[in-house]
Subunit: 363 residues, 2 copies
């Protein structure tokens, strides 16, 4: 696949009010991001009075929005009541004024609540042709000092095999765009490596993925298990949103527990505190390698626009990483890549196997 990077400046719309901290975090992150990316421009969306600090930042303009979607707002409130929210106005920047024209922004980043962000994005942008449901993809660190992309992470429960195929195709496009691996390997998350294991949906998904691989449209490795995410067995791991969300939260929970135990052990008495001091450079390096902030920025895939979701509690460093990911995705035309790959894959599938079946399933 030869898709040239987008020429000229890349414009990112930033929901400056979203997340736990709002402008206190988003402003410094945008400042650092713009300093590192001379070709980037930012549309900072939010209450002008809260964004006065942006006045001095080059290549950064403020787009006013009078309301804010809070972390606890139900989807309905974000969707129907707060029509001038910073989240909604930021996403609107992705809609071209005339069909096929370039929109005001090439990608959008928000640390607002996931449910609201997905619902508003889906409502305003719609899904791409051939995609039934958008999915959420994130990266997790792996043993090779690289990272593994995992999707879906909670946008979809009760997925069909066709949805899992679509996730695989969209995820492949994401890895190609953001990491430059044109044929990323895909693993299907299962509970055993043998094709015979797993639920009916998973078995059928395995068949669809194999068919797509046989047609040269996907680099399908086969089944993988939960531990393969961190082993880095494949570049991409595909699963339904329920399973993906549990895996992500379980990993976060274990990491939090281990961090807390390490801290307890090193602060237990004067000797352990001394040991911590001696081991400080080692512990710092360890912390850097497993720093989850470096992996911030989940992609909402399958929409007619590039939306990235930052963790709600992200600090400026973490939020900047989400901006970086959105920038890379836009620069490398993730949207065109997803579009092309989906069409290619669906057209090549035997009749009834993908497009038709997925229409039938969706009905």
């Amino acid at each position: 696949m030869s898709i040239a990077p987008l020429p000229g400046p890349i414009r990112i719309a930033v929901d400056a009010m979203g997340g736990d901290h709002g402008p206190a975090i988003t402003l410094p992150a945008v400042r650092a991001f713009l300093a590192a990316h001379p070709q980037a421009e930012v549309l900072l969306v939010g209450k002008p009075e809260a964004l006065a600090g942006a006045a001095g930042i080059e290549r950064c303009s403020v787009v006013p929005a009078s309301e804010v979607v809070t972390m606890d707002d139900p989807v309905e409130v974000a969707l129907r009541r707060k029509k001038d929210s910073s989240m909604r106005v930021a996403i609107t920047q992705l809609k071209p004024a005339v069909p096929d024209a370039r929109a005001a922004a090439d990608a959008c980043v928000s640390a607002g609540n996931t449910g609201a962000l997905m619902a508003v994005s889906r409502y305003l942008l719609k899904t791409l042709d051939g995609i039934d449901r958008p999915a959420i993809a994130t990266v997790m660190p792996n043993e090779h000092d690289g990272h593994t992309t995992v999707l879906d992470l909670g946008a979809n429960v009760d997925c069909t095999a066709e949805h899992l195929l679509q996730f695989a195709v969209m995820g492949s496009a994401l890895v190609a765009a953001v990491e430059g691996k044109e044929e990323p390997s895909v693993g299907l998350l299962n509970i055993g490596e043998e094709a015979i294991k797993g639920s009916e949906t998973i078995k059928r998904a395995g068949e669809l993925l194999r068919a797509a691989a046989d047609g040269g449209h996907l680099n399908f490795h086969g089944n993988v298990e939960g531990n393969d995410i961190f082993k880095g067995t494949t570049d991409l791991v595909v699963c339904d949103g329920f399973v993906g969300n549990v895996a992500l939260k379980t990993a976060e929970g274990l990491a939090a527990m281990l961090t807390s135990i390490i801290r307890q052990e090193f602060t237990r008495n004067w000797y352990t505190k001394f040991a911590a001091l001696v081991a400080l450079p080692v512990l710092k390096h360890f912390k850097h390698r497993v720093d989850h902030r470096r992996y911030n920025g989940a992609a909402l895939l399958g929409l007619r626009g590039l939306v990235f979701k930052s963790h709600g509690s992200a600090d400026a460093f973490a939020f900047e990483q989400a901006l970086n990911r959105a920038y890379d995705a836009a620069r490398n035309r993730l949207l065109d890549r997803v579009h092309d790959r989906i069409l290619e894959t669906l057209q090549a599938m035997p009749a009834g196997d993908s497009a038709e079946a997925s229409v039938a399933q969706a009905a």
Copy 2:
């Protein structure tokens, strides 16, 4: 619930040949276990020539079995071909010669392959009344220095809400028997705390669990997320086997990666090696607190006999922990507890909500 401990000696049948290492691990584990439990007796099942080392162990007798189920043997081989396997003969010790009599052994422990162990156990022992499917329960460490019991871990994919209720009841009996908490709190693994989230099956399971709690048959906390396993939010976490297996494997994978990174960091150069030396007591204590070997011994629940599964790669210390768990379960009459709780819960449920529905589902 007042169930008195089983009087007299507790007899454990041990599949001495199972697992990656066989007697090299099981024999020393049995020796240590018997030394620590003066009321215990062990039936060591396997090839007599491989178990010659058991001759000197007190309260330990050898039951001959000429075959061994390997870690790669398909279920069919274990079930239909190797009829004199150490696994099968060990499980057979749980069947009373006359109905309602006490069997040769009160519990059985094997490190053999999970699929074979579950299939042979189910075939020989059958399920308890009111149980559609046996489940596998294990414990994971939590922040309170306690542990959280999780089930199912892979015996069942495609579970119904009724199965999840049965898992909750069986798991509660397990925690009561092995940990002495008579009313353990139960969490339903979901992707959000709000009852509205999750798949249809999960929502319906939430309703069944709430109904059982309202009737006083279960201490239902509500929905929990993946990270709650390690937070120790509830004593018990219930999920279908696919999700549970992914959560367990993901946690194992992350733990393995972090361990490997810590080792790399502390052996990077002469300074970090010096730091490791200084920090050794801290690292050892840390390692002990998160040592997965301490949590070895998964319970196969819902069968007419107590079967415990050790990790295939367990060392003698880990295998001994599985023996300990089997001993505690047998001593505290886990089988009677599961039986009583299941009957009590099912009888109290509104018609069509549990027993009938689960029969309909199974048909």
